[in-house]
């Protein structure tokens, strides 16, 4: 027993050291090398040296929505690599520091604070889940550091203040898109709603969908809810089945939706499921299997888009990461390119100048639609509706604002 104590101590020391290493930014591509140099010049996460512009990203690299953060990071990385290859911004190279928020708002806020106070980044990108972006926006606004969220669609995110922007559309629009699609294309009269009560995103979509669908003459037969991380939805689905809807709106995340689809089929619900961009992940097909076939969801972009710019992005992304980019990767890519474009136009790298430059973004050609920022700092763009067929998504239609 006595001899064990020093051994344990040693083991603990190793673990602490390992943890220490993990919190340091993951070096990646050309941007990563720059980050490492910046760190060498001033250890402990000091601002970048004179030849680099340091950007920050906070993303859910672990936790329930891990694929969201990873896709976004890949998209951003690709955009910065291209920008650096083209000579960088104002003669300086761009580099990025990435922190994980474990899919939790508390961690997101902490990571944002760290980027602002320790790393002194010029601009923050992130996150996907609205709950996390809201927590970050608070810190960014207070510190006067511009922040662009690639794909948080909850309206309140940009309400946090004039430093917070987004390059995607907002929830009311997604709810509207699905309500219109269900009513006009699928000709449904009755729909049940199953929402995730732990997510601002899910509640927002469900609310707008319910209102719009009812306004268009449809009827919402039941509203049930679950909490993120649940894996048994049979009780809710049995109750929904009793209300006999012609479709179910499930504006949740892929991690839950896949399992919900399986259990819906199991309790005997054969009607199509509908959802939003939270479904967008390769994992959806693995988790949902054949049960998710024939379901619809609204999204930011479709890889079927023949636009050469989109196809070039898809080819580059495939070459770098070995997968077809999902919408979150596309939006990550767009957000970084909007940021680079704004940094180029800004008269200096101070918070207010960069903010003004971002706000003037107009008709910027992104891979997930053309970005024009309105007075509320939201992007105005159209949405696509995709259908799940044979384990992949199929473009169905585009719905304009």
């Amino acid at each position: 027993m006595r001899r064990l104590a020093p051994m344990l101590l040693a083991a603990l020391a190793v673990m602490v050291a390992a943890c220490e290493k993990k919190t340091q930014p993951a070096p990646s591509g050309e941007g990563g090398t720059q980050a490492a140099q910046g760190q060498g010049a001033a250890p402990g996460g000091a601002p970048a040296d004179a030849n680099t512009i340091l950007l920050g990203q906070v993303g859910s690299l672990t936790g329930g929505q891990a694929t969201f953060g990873i896709s976004t990071r890949n998209g951003i990385e690709l955009a910065l690599k291209e920008a650096n290859a083209a000579g960088g911004v104002k003669g300086k190279k761009l580099s990025i520091r990435v922190y994980d928020n474990q899919s939790k708002p508390e961690e997101a806020a902490q990571a944002a604070t760290r980027l602002i106070t320790q790393d002194k980044v010029a601009l923050i990108l992130g996150d996907v889940a609205s709950s996390n972006s809201l927590a970050m926006a608070e810190k960014a606004q207070a510190a006067g550091v511009p922040m662009i969220t690639p794909s948080s669609t909850n309206p309140t995110v940009t309400d946090k203040g004039d430093y917070i922007f987004r390059v995607c559309f907002i929830d009311p629009f997604q709810g509207f898109v699905m309500a219109k699609f269900a009513r006009e294309n699928l000709k449904l009269n009755t729909v049940a709603v199953l929402q995730d009560n732990k997510s601002a995103y899910s509640i927002g979509l469900a609310e707008v969908f319910t209102r719009k669908f009812t306004e268009m003459g449809g009827k919402v037969t039941a509203v049930e809810s679950y909490s993120q991380g649940d894996t048994d939805y049979r009780a809710q689905l049995t109750a929904i089945r009793k209300s006999q809807p012609e479709g179910i709106y499930v504006p949740g995340y892929y991690s839950e939706v896949g399992i919900i689809a399986r259990q819906a089929r199991e309790v005997g619900l054969k009607v199509p499921l509908m959802g939003g961009d939270g479904w967008d992940s390769e994992k959806l097909f693995e988790l949902g299997g054949s049960a998710i076939e024939g379901s619809y969801f609204s999204n930011h972009y479709s890889p079927d888009n023949p636009d050469p710019r989109v196809q070039k992005f898809i080819a580059d992304y495939k070459a770098a990461y070995g997968a077809v980019p999902d919408a979150l990767a596309a939006l990550g890519y767009d957000s970084a390119r909007v940021a680079v474009n704004a940094l180029e136009r800004a008269k200096d790298l101070s918070g207010p100048s960069v903010r003004d430059a971002i706000a003037q973004t107009k008709d910027f050609p992104g891979v997930a639609g053309t970005v024009t920022l309105d007075a509320q700092r939201n992007a105005v763009k159209s949405a696509v509706v995709l259908k799940v067929e044979d384990g992949k998504t199929q473009y169905v239609t585009t719905i304009n604002p």
Partner: protein
């Protein structure tokens, strides 16, 4: 009526799994007075072991009877080993320290496992939830009306496995020499040691047993909900802990009753009231039980402590 029956079946299916996990909490609490918060995460590790085994066996092999047995055996033995190491290196050195120290250590191990399994290390599947392979090919065994009530084969098989494990445990604890030693250690481990009982070995075996049970329960859970994720242990572990406390922690049949009650309460709240209320009612029920019977439904005054 049909809907009531369906809810009853669903509730029982969820309840048996809570009960199995709760048994592990209760056994360890019985011998050590330690709430092993890492229990749920040991379960998660067991599910990943089963996941890897099922893939190694291949599609045809894993859904055969032998395949299922192999999946369960690998996961349960692997977890028993994990339980042994956790006890040996994390808890045993702290045995004579204040109880709080061991409790904090348990929480530490829980986090180390659930977040360690999200790391991208190549041999681990990573942070995102994965679909659990269909170890038991789903077949409808009983359909009433227009699919108003459906009983699946895996529901019946799970229930059978769970009951068998519980009966086996009951036998082990009350009918064998090892069980008697366990009960003696639970009364007072110092006195038990004086009577010549190898307390270290008994405690280690208890940990291995509870971890193996957790692996079995975890596999049933993964088969039921067709998914596996590194954070599943935290949720299931918390619910099962509540079940153990409702039943009276340290009491074997209490854990079973607590698990079944919790599973049914949750199912009926979601089915007949609002789904938003589920956790509020489940935890409210816990508070109510503790107010009326502070020792849980079966009380801690009961002589049969394990």
């Amino acid at each position: 009526m049909a809907q009531l029956l369906q809810h009853l079946i669903n509730g029982l299916a969820a309840g048996t799994i809570y009960a199995l996990v709760a048994l592990g909490y209760t056994m360890v609490y019985g011998v050590l007075k330690l709430i092993n918060f890492a229990h749920g995460d040991v379960m998660m590790v067991g599910v990943y072991m089963g996941y890897a085994t099922a893939f190694a066996l291949g599609r045809d092999m894993r859904s055969s009877l032998l395949g299922v047995a192999v999946v369960f055996a690998v996961a349960m033995l692997g977890c028993a080993l994990l339980g042994f190491f956790i006890e040996r290196f994390a808890y045993r050195p702290l045995r004579e320290k204040p109880r709080l120290t061991a409790l904090i250590t348990a929480i530490g191990i829980s986090f180390a496992l659930s977040y360690g399994f999200q790391l991208d290390l190549g041999f681990l599947p990573g942070a995102a939830p994965r679909a659990f392979p269909e170890v038991i090919e789903p077949v409808e065994w009983l359909v009433i009306g227009d699919r108003d009530v459906v009983v699946w084969n895996w529901q019946v098989i799970s229930f059978g496995i769970a009951v068998a494990l519980m009966v086996g445990l009951q036998y082990l604890v009350f009918r064998t020499r090892f069980g008697r030693a366990m009960r003696a250690v639970s009364w007072d481990h110092r006195v038990a040691a004086l009577m010549g009982i190898p307390t270290d070995r008994v405690i280690a075996l208890t940990f291995m047993l509870s971890s193996a049970l957790a692996a079995g329960a975890g596999l049933l859970y993964a088969i039921k909900d067709t998914s596996v994720s590194p954070l599943m242990g935290l949720y299931v572990g918390l619910k099962a802990f509540v079940a153990a406390v409702i039943g009276g922690i340290g009491h074997v049949p209490g854990a079973v009753v607590g698990g079944l009650v919790l599973g049914l309460v949750e199912e009926f709240v979601v089915g007949y009231a609002a789904s938003t209320w589920r956790d509020a009612v489940a935890f409210g029920f816990l508070i109510l039980v503790l107010l009326v019977k502070p020792g849980g439904l079966f009380g801690r005054v009961a002589a049969e402590k394990v």
